[in-house]
Subunit: 275 residues, 2 copies
């Protein structure tokens, strides 16, 4: 690679690092990409690190040693995240979203890449200290948010299925009581999908009674997995007693009025509040 | 915001733009963020644009007029993409992946955020000229790839369900013949999920007979939608005659030997080959 000027190196380095969260680049790789000495790259990275920090654009971190290098953490700051969640709650507080049966339509929000990329970074900020090996979700509506969370962590996504699939080989199946439908259902995960003793972070779009999340926790036990955290986009105020105690949510559905269709959603302020 | 030095502005601008593909920033926004005059920002952007181009890191494009601004296109170059697909094919060419019944296990690949972010950018590169309004996929395994493609385009994702869900209101259901199971199945999309006359790009993980893709095309007709393209991660050489003619794939499953479990997968070289 040709030798770049300092400003040019800074542009190339910051683009590569921030585009690829939690991807480790050795100083050597970066030196080859930009044609600069490793010591020069180190100085560049120090400057980029300061600038990202001062603009709340995340953090650069280094890992020392032979397999070391530098990687970008897409951390979100408290003020920006609070504003974002407030706006999101306002957008969801809309009578037009209420569907007969008292359900809330929110697919446009949880399938919007700009919103869910941000949510993925917020979950990353909350759970990064738990150092999960995998993000686990259950089909279907939580998958895009879980995929973006997996992208922020740069760790694999695991999707639990609603029934065993012949195309995935032998699987572990468990029954669980779904709080929202009040019916016994089956969830399933291919034996080869998850190694033994993995640390998993469970991410889903919605929690009501916590039955589905509890099912996923039980399923993880079958793989000797350790659940390091549970994050959902929205939880409901009722029932207050959920099967799962230790979870966090971004938003709370406080009430839906079946007659007027009035919806009240607010940023979550429960026990494990994010910020 | 404090006034930044030129090098500092370059780092901040390139990080913000490349982190948020196809997100429009007005010169005014960027001027406020960095404390510089709009004319200065314009010069910075010209430099960033040249550097991204010369390092195959994508393109900066401007939109003129009152609602104008600048946005980042995450374009992938031909050489890098070919190498990437070749490596991916090699990784999948593994007897251990063959599951009784002649299926191929590839969840670890299509749920890996680093791989699917790249695939999303490759699909973006291929289909950006078709200017879709939505990415459409069907549950379950194609969702992460489709979500990353939606992220590259910065357009909403739509997930077709395998049956109508009470929580999404009235829906349009159609029957289709799934090539892989040779059974009549139902697919369903909430009426409110997609406006009339939308331009949609269909993305899925796998195509065999093309029945599922054909079903999605028919479903889109019910919404007066226009299918501007179909992209799948992997297609099969057999059957050669598929229900869908006009699609592109990244990889081709040429054969699985039921006795030896030998798998042959290569980068796709069919009619609508990507590069």
């Amino acid at each position: 690679m040709e030798r770049l000027k300092r400003t040019d190196r800074l542009v190339v380095l910051s683009s590569i690092l921030t585009k690829n969260p939690n991807t480790l680049y050795s100083l050597n790789d970066l030196a080859v990409m930009t044609g600069a000495a490793k010591s020069t790259i180190s100085e560049d990275l120090t400057l980029i690190k300061e600038l990202l920090l001062s603009h709340s654009l995340g953090e650069l971190c280094s890992l020392s040693g032979a397999a070391g290098g530098i990687f970008y953490k897409p951390l979100q700051n408290e003020k920006g995240s609070k504003d974002f969640l407030k706006e999101l709650a306002d957008r969801l507080n809309d009578r037009e979203r209420v569907i007969p049966g008292g359900f809330l339509y929110m697919n446009d929000v949880i399938f919007d890449p700009h919103i869910i990329s941000r949510i993925g970074e917020i979950f990353y900020t909350k759970f990064q200290h738990t150092v999960p090996d995998f993000i686990v979700t259950i089909e279907t509506k939580g998958i895009p948010v879980a995929a973006m969370t997996a992208r922020s962590f740069n760790i694999p996504l695991i999707i639990v299925r609603n029934s065993g699939r012949v195309t995935e080989g032998s699987s572990v199946n468990i029954n669980y009581l779904s709080g929202s439908t009040n019916r016994i259902q089956t969830m399933s995960l291919a034996r080869r999908a998850l190694p033994d003793h993995a640390k998993v972070l469970i991410i889903d779009d919605f929690m009501k009674g916590g039955g589905t999340a509890q099912g996923m926790v039980n399923l993880m036990k079958e793989f000797n997995g350790v659940v390091v955290g549970i994050g959902v986009v929205m939880t409901t105020r009722n029932p207050e007693q959920k099967l799962i105690k230790d979870y966090t949510a971004l938003l709370e559905l406080i009430s839906i009025d079946a007659e007027t269709n009035e919806v009240i959603i607010k940023p979550f302020l429960g026990k494990n509040v994010l910020f």
